[in-house]
């Protein structure tokens, strides 16, 4: 995203309207875990420190529950700001972000859809965990869900082969056009 495109996006999210009342932070279910509060993230974007905001771990803690946006008295789309920052950092991941579980997961998720058109959960879990291992992260975490898998299969909740779309090629083309960032 160019600097201009970022500025336009910031405008659309009404970042300039924010007067720092903190209602976003007050209602955020995960504010307690964030290194920067949602209102501080919006503030950083407002003053042009988008880079700093992108580096905050907070944007990966955000669960996209929309509470902040819903209650904002100034109709700032705070959840949208989080999305924008994640998009920006996905374009230019910093080393520490590249290691972040959430971003690894989301990339794995999209790659998965791109291949099949629909989510193939078992493959997703596998790919995600492989990515985590390659990055040499938090290994015990890896086994938590592995323990769940047999119980899920027992309940018919995990299929070894996921469903797939007949016209898979179109999905690839949609991804290409969108990620290339230019018109079709």
């Amino acid at each position: 995203m160019t600097a201009v495109a970022t500025a336009v996006a910031t405008d659309d999210l009404r970042v300039a309207e924010c007067y720092q009342c903190g209602k976003c932070t007050a209602g955020c279910p995960v504010a307690g875990r964030m290194d920067r509060m949602p209102n501080q993230i919006v503030r950083m974007v407002q003053t042009g420190d988008t880079e700093g905001a992108m580096r905050a771990g907070a944007i990966w803690e955000c669960v996209s529950c929309q509470t902040c946006t819903t209650r904002c008295p100034k109709t700032v789309d705070c959840a949208g700001v989080m999305d924008l920052l994640r998009q920006l950092s996905a374009e230019r991941p910093s080393p520490e972000q590249a290691r972040h579980h959430t971003i690894l997961f989301q990339h794995a998720f999209l790659n998965n859809i791109r291949r099949h058109g629909r989510l193939n959960e078992l493959e997703l879990v596998g790919m995600f965990k492989a990515a985590v291992v390659t990055k040499d992260l938090d290994v015990p975490f890896l086994f938590k869900d592995a323990l769940l898998a047999p119980r899920m299969m027992q309940r018919g909740k995990l299929k070894l082969v996921g469903g797939s779309v007949r016209d898979r090629a179109v999905v690839g083309r949609i991804f290409d056009r969108c990620l290339r960032g230019t018109d079709a």
């Binding site: 989301q106 990339h107 998720f109 193939n120 899920m152 909740k157 779309v165 016209d167 949609i174 056009r177």
Partner: protein, 280 residues
């Protein structure tokens, strides 16, 4: 009556019990679900975290597919999917340029002719009075904590469904089934949603709070209309209990489970027996 059906990945995967339940109970109410041909994933949180155009394009493709199939209404039982569909639909309706661009990207045109429904709206379309009249086994003794989570009502200008601060539409369905609903405080708090795999810690913390509050207000079960809420509250419940050293033992129902049961369907027919917390 047949309506369009957009299952989304969850209902074809981990949450296929939800699909089973929704299909069974709607069928019993005379509503057939016809799957949208060749539907693809809506992109969920991942798409709008990574690429804005993608987050519009994926739902746009599905809306266009539903239109191609001639569906006037499409049920998307997963609120994440229905939110993404509605959001993309609103964006394209208000921006002709975007609509054209998306038409080129997804190789199909969007005309905004299909209405997107969540599960509760599907029941509302059937009519609560008709449901009430069809009840064979009233849910006496049921004290449900109706749990809406985030995406059924938020963002309100996209969803245009119920009151986002004090929703009551699920309670109305429960009441029609002869059950009762408790007043509690975590109706609209987030469970961690799609963070199940990526950030399990958040999910455990948030879901634990939700289960605790429901029990504190006298609920004997939690009712959801979202696959992610169900995964986090049901599948993850054992992890939550281990992590916090408590015993919740809270049954988590899909709203369709309750409707189905009241209509006289068996737990097996509805897939309730496949829940992690079952019969406890």
């Amino acid at each position: 009556m047949d309506i369009g059906y957009y299952p989304g990945c969850a209902l074809h995967g981990t949450s296929n019990d939800y699909e089973q339940s929704a299909r069974a109970c709607l069928e019993a109410l005379g509503v057939g679900l016809k799957e949208v041909n060749d539907w693809i994933c809506c992109g969920a949180t991942a798409a709008h975290s990574i690429n804005h155009r993608l987050s519009v394009a994926l739902p746009a493709r599905n809306l266009a597919l539903a239109e191609r199939d001639g569906f006037g209404e499409v049920l998307a039982p997963c609120p994440m999917c229905s939110m993404e569909l509605l959001k993309a639909s609103d964006l394209m309706k208000s921006d002709g340029k975007l609509r054209q661009e998306m038409g080129r990207i997804v190789e199909l045109d969007f005309n905004g002719r299909t209405e997107v429904l969540n599960l509760i709206q599907a029941f509302q379309k059937v009519g609560l009075d008709s449901i009430k009249a069809a009840v064979k086994r009233p849910l006496e003794g049921l004290k449900a904590a109706c749990y809406y989570g985030c995406l059924l009502t938020r963002p309100p200008e996209t969803l245009r469904f119920d009151d986002c601060e004090r929703p009551s539409s699920m309670e109305a369905v429960v009441a029609a089934l002869g059950g009762s609903a408790v007043e509690w405080n975590y109706k609209t708090e987030c469970c961690g949603a799609g963070m199940t795999l990526a950030n399990t810690d958040i999910v455990l913390e948030l879901s634990h709070k939700i289960l605790t509050n429901a029990a504190a207000h006298g609920a004997n079960c939690v009712v959801v209309a979202c696959p992610m809420c169900h995964v986090n509250l049901d599948m993850k419940q054992a992890d939550i209990e281990k992590r916090y050293g408590v015993r919740h033992g809270m049954t988590i129902y899909y709203l369709s489970d309750l409707v189905g049961r009241a209509l006289g369907l068996s737990d097996e027919a509805l897939g309730i027996d496949r829940h992690f917390v079952y019969g406890g």
